[in-house]
């Protein structure tokens, strides 16, 4: 299981909502989360081998109202910020929130309004657990 799928499963299980890669499906269930990988680099260590990879991951928390988005983003913060240890088949060195921001509420067909909070995390991991 890759880092991407391990993280996907972890977030889905902890938040108990659908997690989508890159974008929302056409008719998404609300609330929903979108997971996007933004950038990555090998983390340098003092000894020669590079042991950790660091990725910036963007989570979009979608909901029908502000409270729903607040609740889910707070849960994600509690479950992921400061995470250390095994996650599926990978080992997480550390994870931390880099930034978060809201977008303007988006009007969608049928008079509904969709809310979104963007949360960026930096996550350092080892691909295969020893």
């Amino acid at each position: 299981m890759s880092f991407r799928s391990s993280l996907h499963s972890y977030v889905r299980d902890q938040l108990d909502v659908a997690v989508h890669d890159s974008r929302l499906p056409v008719r998404p269930m609300m609330p929903s989360v979108v997971q996007r990988f933004i950038s990555g680099r090998a983390d340098q260590t003092h000894s020669a081998p590079v042991s950790l990879l660091e990725k910036r991951v963007q989570f979009d928390i979608y909901g029908n109202n502000d409270e729903q988005v607040d609740d889910l983003s707070l849960t994600l913060l509690h479950k992921l910020d400061g995470y250390h240890g095994p996650m599926g088949d990978v080992s997480i060195g550390w994870a931390g929130l880099l930034s978060d921001l809201d977008t303007k509420p988006e009007d969608i067909k049928g008079g509904e309004v969709r809310y979104r909070r963007i949360m960026d995390f930096a996550i350092a991991y080892q691909e295969s657990r020893p």
Binding site: S22, R23, L24, P28, R36, I38, S39, R41, R56, Q58, D60, Y62, S73, L74, L77, L97, S99, D100, L101, D102, T103, K104, E106, R114, R116, R117, I118, D120
Partner: protein, 152 residues
Amino acid sequence: MPTIRRAGDSKFYAIIEGGPQLARALSALDRKVRQDIAKEALTEGGRIIADAWANMAPVGAPPEDEHPGAYRRSLQDNASVTARSSASGATAAIRPAVLSDLPDDQQPQLYAARLEFGDADRDAEPSARPAFDGAQRPALAAISERLTRAFR
């Protein structure tokens, strides 16, 4: 929970801050000298990030994009890098420049956030954050080198 801002409420730009070490080192200097050194150092670092950002800025194609390459052009060579003194020593803001050949409502600053973060209907095409992540080490090295020269 950290402060939350709204994307799209303002023009998009990236910020780098000096941090407490810079503030401490600079506090020993005369105020005017301190401000000048901090601004120069962060401007040098900001230029490195602006160049990396320009190289990663997505280029669209017509008809979807009426001005292909405008976003990249607003960052290449003429990105606005401005520094000011702040509680943390100094803060530099890196912004896409205003392009004189485009109307006000089609300036890259206005749609950069949508490209950077994506939305429900389109993938993100991030460039500012990967540029910041990838170029932060050379940018910090340039800032450090400039400060070392100033303290010699």
